[in-house]
Each structure stands twice: as C-alpha cells, then as structure tokens.
C-alpha cells in the first residue's frame, strides 16, 4: 500500500518528521486531512532525539510579549494533549508539571535572574505569570538536596517536563494509527506550485499535495523561499551529560538538570555557535557537571553513562515563526525552537488552522517572519 500511495494526492504534505512535523501531522489527521510526512533518513540532524525535554514557561517572552501567552497556552493544553495520545496509542509520555526551578550559585546570579524576570513582566501586553524568587531556605524545602552554594532560585509553577523520546515515538505511532503516510529518506529538494497543487521533488519521486506545511527545523531556511516565505535561522549546539539511573531525589525539574521518570539525571543547557552535531568538548561538559555538583553535591560520585551534543533549531531571534504564503496560497511555516513545549499548540491549535487553510491572526500574527523586516537605523 505504501508503494502505491507515493504518487497519489494528499491534502497536506508536512515537510519534516521531527516533533514539530509529527505533532502538526497528527493534528491535521484529527481534522480529517489526508496527510503525508516527508522526512530525511536515520542520519538526519534531528533535534527531537537530542533535546532536554522540558515543557517550560519561565523566562519565555522577553523581547516578544505574546510568546509568553503562546507558551502558557501550550503548557496548559499539555495535560489534555498527553491524555489524548494515551487514549489513542496506549503510550504514556510521562508528562509532569510540578513547577520548575532556575538555581543561582551566587548573589550576583540571583540578582541577574530577578532583573531579567522583572524586565520580562514589565513588558506591555505580557500575561503576568507567576515566577517567584526564593531564598536558600525556601528552595531547600522543595529541593532538600541542594548544596550550600545555592543562594536561591526562581520558581514557576507552570513548568514541567516529559519523556521526549517517548513523545517522539508516541506521535509516530499516533500518526500511523490515523493513516498518515510517513515517508523516510524523502528529503525535499524543491517545491513548486502548479495547477493549484504543490509538487515536492524528492530522491524517490514527486509528491503532490494541496497544501504544504514546512516543519523542517533549521532546513526551513532553505525551503521557505521556494514558496515565497522566509525562515531566518541560527542553529546552536547544546551538549548533554547523562547519569546512571538513580532513586528519585529530585521532584522538580531545574532548567539545567532534571531526573527522568526512569531515574536518569540529565545535565545540560550549554549553548555554542556551532553546527557540528558530532562535536563534544570536554570543557563544556565539565563545566555543566561542575555546576550540577555544586547545585546537588550528592551527584559527586554518580557515574556518567552517556554524553551527546545536538543542534538546536533556533530562529534568528529565538521566537517561533508561523506564516502563510501570499504568493503560494496553501504553504505554511511551522518553525520554532521549543518543539516539546509547543507540541500541544502545534497539534491542537496550529494544525486546525492549516486544515482550514488560514492562520488565525488573532493568535499567531506576532510570530510572522515579517518582524525581521524592521528598517535598520542608519
């Protein structure tokens, strides 16, 4: 069936089979669309297999106030989203939303943290979500294993985390169950619009679809201009250190450190301007681990079982891009850094807009790439 389906028509072709693509494809299939997902092969540079798996709110929105509201919308929809996935697939993606911490290891760090949050919440039009600054004793009540160097933290009750590898697998199972055609090793080379439909050229032939949704991460930069859109990106590398499985000691995710449902501790959050996904640098992972041990001294003699680096999908200003093409009606971009946090929005809010053929400007107008066209000051 798959072989004969390749050249038939689809309502929507989703370009990209990572978390953003499959969340969008699942949402489209729920709207009754016939969907094909065109993906690269196993060697694709795939953020969805390397990410840190936070469903995160605090700090989001500094510089673009509507991003805070958009993030909170997804964070609040996440429980229902994971319940729907469980009903359909029987798989549990282990979503938890206990609130999350950003720990400070000096008074200077804590003051900087407080200043950022104040600037964030002073912006006009911001949804004033609660992020509290706590001192050492207040943090220790919730995180009893913090070290003496932790002077305080910011805490936001809306933060959570998930098992993102299981989320990735669950969404793939869910789209298969709903009859979505998934075509790996179908890297899209060119997209043209002829006779009212899109033609997507791949190494395995041409795919035709009524609409196209670009969800190809950093590769949207190459693809978007083919349909009269743009997606200015600046990929960024992050490195993650992973420990052996430990008895649960951490009941809340920290922005740089979290314990998974199966006991593993992930330590991360480095940022480098590099696009080499195979590069690991000891200096970066050593710094991450040194801070982790100062935050939680009981980690000092724990074994590290794995380290990896991955490339973040990142737009030039860090905020999502959702656009529809004027020159190529039916072409959309779905592009963002936070494919885990925003998965509920992509499935339950953005996909229905694409199914209807028009973005709801009241929700996503601030995220158009047109914002990059502000005139430069002389």
């Amino acid at each position: 069936m798959a072989a004969s389906a390749v050249h038939s028509d689809y309502d929507v072709a989703v370009v990209g089979g990572g978390l953003v693509g499959v969340a969008t494809a699942w949402g489209l299939a729920r709207e009754g669309c016939r969907v094909v997902v065109l993906d690269e092969g196993d060697r694709a540079v795939r953020a969805s297999r390397g990410n840190f798996a936070l469903v995160w709110v605090q700090s989001k929105g500094l510089g673009l106030a509507p991003y805070a509201g958009w993030t909170i919308r997804s964070s609040s929809a996440w429980r229902g989203f994971s319940d729907l996935l469980k009903q359909e697939t029987g798989l549990d993606v282990c979503f938890q939303r206990p609130g999350g911490f950003h720990l400070a290891l000096s008074e200077k760090e804590l003051e900087a943290r407080a200043a950022i949050l104040q600037r964030l919440h002073n912006q006009p039009g911001i949804v004033d979500y609660q992020t509290e600054i706590l001192d050492h004793a207040q943090v220790a009540k919730m995180l009893p294993d913090i070290g003496p160097e932790v002077v305080g933290a910011s805490y936001c009750a809306l933060d959570g985390h998930v098992n993102s590898l299981r989320l990735f697998r669950t969404l793939h199972v869910a789209i298969a169950d709903r009859g979505v055609t998934y075509l790996p090793s179908h890297r899209v080379e060119t997209i043209t619009r002829e006779g009212g439909e899109f033609r997507l050229a791949t190494p395995h032939g041409e795919i035709r679809a009524g609409k196209v949704a670009l969800a190809a991460g950093n590769a949207n930069m190459r693809l978007a201009p083919m349909v009269g859109l743009e997606a200015p990106m600046r990929p960024e590398r992050g490195q993650i250190v992973v420990t052996e499985r430990l008895r649960p000691f951490l009941n809340y995710p920290v922005v740089t450190l979290r314990q998974t449902d199966e006991g593993t501790v992930m330590i991360g959050d480095s940022k480098e301007e590099s696009v080499d996904p195979s590069g690991l640098t000891l200096g970066v992972s050593a710094t991450e681990v040194e801070r982790a041990v100062r935050q939680f001294p009981l980690l000092a003699n724990v074994n590290v079982v794995r380290t990896w680096s991955a490339i973040r999908v990142m737009t030039q200003d860090g905020f999502p891009i959702y656009d529809e093409s004027e020159s190529h009606p039916g072409a959309f971009t779905v592009c963002c850094h936070s494919g885990v946090t925003l998965a509920a929005n992509h499935a339950l809010t953005v996909a229905p807009m694409i199914a209807r053929g028009a973005l709801d400007k009241s929700l996503v107008a601030p995220f158009s790439a047109r914002r990059f066209h502000v005139q430069k000051a002389g």
């Binding site: 499985r245 430990l246 008895r247 006991g263 501790v265 001294p297 009981l298 074994n303």
Partner: protein, 100 residues
C-alpha cells in the same frame, strides 16, 4: 554452577573479600565478577526499572550487567576490577541511591 579448573599452577594465592558482609574466598587475579560466579552467587543486582535479577554476562567490560558496589562506590563493573583482600562488595537492588 561454575567450578575452578584443577590446574593448580594457574591459581593465585587465596584472597578473602566480603559480599554483603559475608566472607567469600577467591584467588589472586580473579576479577570481582569471576569471584562472585565461582562462589555460586547467581545474581549481583536487580535492574533499576523492572527489578529483574542480573548476573555477570560478557566478562569483558561491555554489557554492564555485573555492576556492584565496591568499597562504597556504586555501579562499578565487577568484571574489570581485580579482587583484593578485605574488599567490600555489595550487591545492588534497583536504582542506585545518589550520595552513597
């Protein structure tokens, strides 16, 4: 289940270690994993997620099945560490506790 070969010339001097507090005899040159198997200890840990029993398997540092706590340090690979007199070996149940 396992028996030492009779070739006495290959056997090192006797070494006594403890496993979960009980004395166990081994031979100099044995790895911790070999000493456990020779002593008839049929599993050295239970897994962190499902709690299934595990015993030394590959004996060459690859499979990580033989993890034990040695002298207070958890999740050491028993097949890579030679026995010493007075060594304290503890079997591991489920997930390791951080901080010990």
């Amino acid at each position: 289940m396992f028996k030492r070969l009779a070739d006495a010339s290959a056997a090192g001097a006797a070494v006594t270690l403890t496993v979960d507090g009980k004395p166990v005899s081994a031979r100099e040159g044995d790895t911790v994993a070999a000493a456990l198997l020779a002593a008839g200890i049929d599993h050295c840990r239970t897994t962190p997620v499902s709690g299934a029993p595990r015993a030394p398997y590959c004996l060459m540092g690859v499979c990580f099945e033989c993890l034990v706590t040695i002298d207070g340090v958890g999740s050491r690979q028993g097949c890579l560490i030679p026995v010493r007199t007075g060594m304290k070996v503890e079997t591991q149940l489920g997930k390791r506790e951080a901080g010990r």
